[in-house]
Amino acid sequence: MKGTIFEEIQDELSKKVNSLVNERDYNLNQDVFDLASDVLIKQIKSLRKDNFEENDTDINKDANEILRTIDQEINRLNETK
């Protein structure tokens, strides 16, 4: 399994995020979104082993992970400003 679908998703998401950020005129860093999509894709890839089955605990765990990662990245970016 080559994971082509995920590369395509990453690309589509990046474009869509970029267009929404511009549309709303937000001052947001593209690197944070790239990191978010990396984390999300990693999570979905690991679901593949279980035939894409998921439960509330998985979703909660994944939501915590992505929150923690993004907050850390925003913190890091603010500190380096």
């Binding site: 399994m1 080559k2 994971g3 082509t4 679908i5 995920f6 395509e8 998703i9 589509e12 998401l13 869509k16 995020v17 929404l20 950020v21 709303r24 937000y26 947001l28 944070v32 979104f33 978010a36 999300l40 999570q43 979905i44 679901l47 593949r48 082993k49 279980d50 035939n51 894409f52 998921e54 979703i59 909660n60 994944d62 939501a63 915590n64 992505i66 929150l67 993004i70 907050d71 925003i74 913190n75 603010n78």
Partner: protein, 718 residues
């Protein structure tokens, strides 16, 4: 992924171990009707899913006999005496190593055995046993998969939704519909498209937003004491943040799906009823005509009976002519007699005849009490004369009475005769009219019946009873649909209200929130997630539409390759397959297509799905087809064979369609070269009897399965 080997032993018509080795690209297994062509595919399905397509439906294989009938024939002594027989199928795949490193391939072995014990002449299924093994790429050792993981591994390697399309039987190719209700087709779209993945991402990112919102609310509460109203505002905001995504992502889409299902079902019913309405109308008209004809027949019969009665009467009256003459004679006689009677009336006062007779008998007048001297006495003569007068009076009365009766009888007879003549004439006329009317009704009925025959042969029709049933079903669905739409409308209004309330609450909350770094950081983080979720939601919506466009494009290009001069445009819309005339762009009624066209359209759509699934999932299942071109002419079979390998890593065709063509050695060589060029293989099967003699290549020389077995006579692998 590649199926390297299929090994069967004691499976159906395969008695001895039969082994087929396959390469990548195109692989063809030639087998005539009755040679076990479908059994190859059945055996794969038995191992992977325990389901076998049998008698036009999927059946649990536990209910089916799989052993060779050879074992039940007493003439095959050695086999007939076997107490335990094991049916065994082994599949060897090169497939992803999902247990260790999904990015790499390994070799998987799926072996299924069915143990039979003998009970009399029959073999009875005792138990089935599946073993899944793979080779550990690092150590090179074979690893047996735990029983609890078998289902998950099979579903991951061979997703059920895709498998149904990848491994199919031509004759029973029903998993895709060219009309409504394409549930199986939609399952594949779900399996290979991006949007379920976007959906999963949306769930996680939305959950993250809720968590971030809750954390921020808690932070704000901790930082300053809030009034009751402010706390309530924050509480209400939390509630709405749960309620809005729930409505937006689950309740409303689910309801919309339900509405779509209802609309599809109603469209089905309408389609069905539309075809049937004319039929039912004509059917009812015919029934009315038949009822009218029955009434006319009844009426004709009544007239006939009445006419017959009259004819009998007329005949009877005609036969009474002599009686009428005799009446007239009697009348004349009585008239004559009456004329003779003396009209000089003697008063007939007392004494009456009895008293006069008494006086004669007593020789005494009972009026004056005088004796009558003798019989010569004038008083005696006076009494006798008196008695005579009485007798004549009686005779006259009798004559007059009978005169009247005879006259009446004669006149009745004569008048009845003329009335009967008139009635018979009228009856004949009425019967003629009725017959004319009946003939007219009959010819009208014949016209209607011809119309009805035309309708039944050209469309999907039904009887009046079914029509009513479907009409009622449609009405029920429409009623439900109205209620569902009302509910959807009300939920959408609620959603708008909730969103407006949330906006107002945010304004209020902002007014009493204090700024600090943590809150600012939280709000910044929220903005990222809001953009992320909105983007994912938009992509989720676009993904299905894009996929349908891709399938549309690919299906049309494959159809152009597989079918000579198609003239049809395929379009995938809302999970359904629609067909349009290439020149006029009008939608085509699938009933106007021939079997071969339908088959190739389905092939094109399915193969485009499979091709896309290969690209999108990075998991290429081999295309395994049983008799895929059974309804096609050789030209289309040839196009299909030459091009089908281009889209898949491996194609395995079990077919009888090349046998006849291979009588020309050039065609056979071309076909073998086509397979080998792509890295595939070429196989030829034959049926032999117990002495190993061929029982012929074609089904026109069959031997029963208990007297013959299938063997591989030719196997060429690159």
């Amino acid at each position: 992924m590649k199926l390297n080997k299929l090994k069967l032993k004691n499976y159906s018509c395969f008695l001895d171990a039969v082994e087929l080795n396959f390469g990548k690209g195109l692989n063809i297994v030639n087998a005539g009707n009755g040679y076990g062509k479908s059994k190859f595919l059945d055996s794969i399905n038995w191992v992977i899913s325990n389901q076998i397509f049998h008698g036009d439906v999927w059946k649990n294989a536990d209910e089916l006999d799989l052993y060779p009938l050879w074992y039940t024939n007493p003439e095959n002594k050695q086999y007939y005496e076997e107490k335990e027989v094991i049916t065994e199928v082994t599949l060897e795949f090169t497939a992803p190593d999902i247990d260790n490193n999904i990015e790499k391939n390994t070799v998987w072995f799926f072996t299924k055995k069915r143990y039979h014990k003998r009970e009399g002449t029959k073999l009875i299924r005792n138990r089935d046993e599946l073993t899944i093994k793979y080779i550990n790429n690092e150590t090179g050792e074979q690893v047996i998969l735990g029983k609890h993981r078998e289902f998950d591994v099979i579903e991951t390697l061979f997703p059920k939704a895709l498998r149904k399309f990848m491994w199919f039987q031509g004759e029973a190719f029903k998993e895709i519909s060219l009309s409504h209700d394409n549930k199986e087709f939609n399952k594949v779209l779900d399996t290979i498209s991006h949007y379920p993945i976007y959906g999963k991402m949306v769930k996680r990112a939305s959950k993250a937003i809720i968590k971030k919102e809750n954390a921020l609310t808690k932070l704000r509460r901790e930082q300053r004491g809030l009034s009751k109203e402010q706390s309530e505002n924050l509480y209400e905001k939390d509630r709405l943040l749960i309620k809005i995504p729930e409505l937006e992502n689950k309740i409303i889409p689910d309801l919309q799906c339900d509405i779509d299902d209802h609309e599809n079902k109603i469209a089905d019913y309408e389609d069905f009823l539309k075809n049937s309405v004319e039929y039912v109308k004509i059917d009812r008209e015919i029934k009315q005509k038949e009822s009218d004809i029955r009434h006319i027949n009844q009426s004709i019969e009544e007239y006939e009976i009445s006419k017959v009665n009259m004819l009998i009467k007329r005949w009877a009256i005609a036969g009474s002519k002599s009686h009428i003459e005799s009446f007239q004679k009697k009348i004349d006689y009585i008239q004559n007699e009456l004329n003779k009677i003396d009209n000089t009336k003697i008063p007939l006062h007392i004494p009456g005849p009895e008293m006069v007779q008494d006086m004669i008998d007593d020789m005494k007048c009972h009026i004056c009490d005088r004796e009558i001297p003798d019989e010569d006495h004038e008083s005696y003569h006076a009494l006798l004369k008196r008695l005579e007068v009485f007798k004549e009076g009686k005779k006259e009365r009798w004559l007059r009475k009978n005169f009247d009766i005879f006259k009446r009888m004669k006149s009745n007879a004569l008048s009845t005769h003329s009335e009967i003549e008139e009635s018979i004439k009228n009856h004949k006329k009425k019967i003629q009219e009725k017959i004319r009317k009946r003939n007219k009704l009959n010819s009208e009925k014949d016209v209607l019946q011809d119309k009805l025959k035309g309708l039944s042969s050209s469309s999907n029709t039904t009887t009046g009873e079914n029509y009513d049933l479907y009409f009622n079903k449609k009405q029920d669905k429409e009623k439900n649909l109205r209620n569902l739409k009302l509910r959807l409308g009300s939920l959408k209004n609620n959603l708008i209200n909730y969103k407006n309330n949330l906006k107002e609450l945010n304004e209020k909350i902002r007014s009493f929130q204090t700024d600090n770094n943590d809150i600012n950081l939280g709000e910044e983080s929220l903005k990222y997630f809001e953009v992320l979720v909105d983007s994912l939601k938009k992509l989720e919506l676009d993904a299905k539409e894009n996929l349908e466009n891709e399938i549309t494009h690919k299906s049309n290009s494959l159809f152009n390759i597989y079918y000579d001069n198609p003239g049809i445009n395929i379009k995938i819309k809302n999970g359904n397959v629609k067909l349009f005339d290439k020149s006029t762009d009008d939608e085509i009624d699938i009933r106007n297509l021939n079997k071969s066209q339908k088959e190739m359209i389905k092939f094109s759509v399915i193969n485009s799905l499979l091709k896309l699934s290969n690209e999108k999932l990075g998991n290429s299942l081999p295309l395994i087809a049983d008799a895929p071109t059974s309804s096609s002419e050789w030209t289309n079979t040839k196009y299909f064979t030459e091009n089908v390998g281009d889209n898949f890593d491996q194609v395995i065709l079990f077919s009888k369609d090349y046998i006849e063509q291979c009588e020309d050695p050039n065609v056979k060589t071309q076909l073998i070269n086509l397979c080998l060029k792509q890295g595939g293989s070429w196989h030829w099967t034959q049926k032999v009897d117990k002495n190993g003699n061929s029982v012929g290549r074609k089904f026109d020389n069959p031997k029963s399965d208990s007297e013959s077995k299938t063997v591989i006579t030719e196997s060429i692998l690159k």
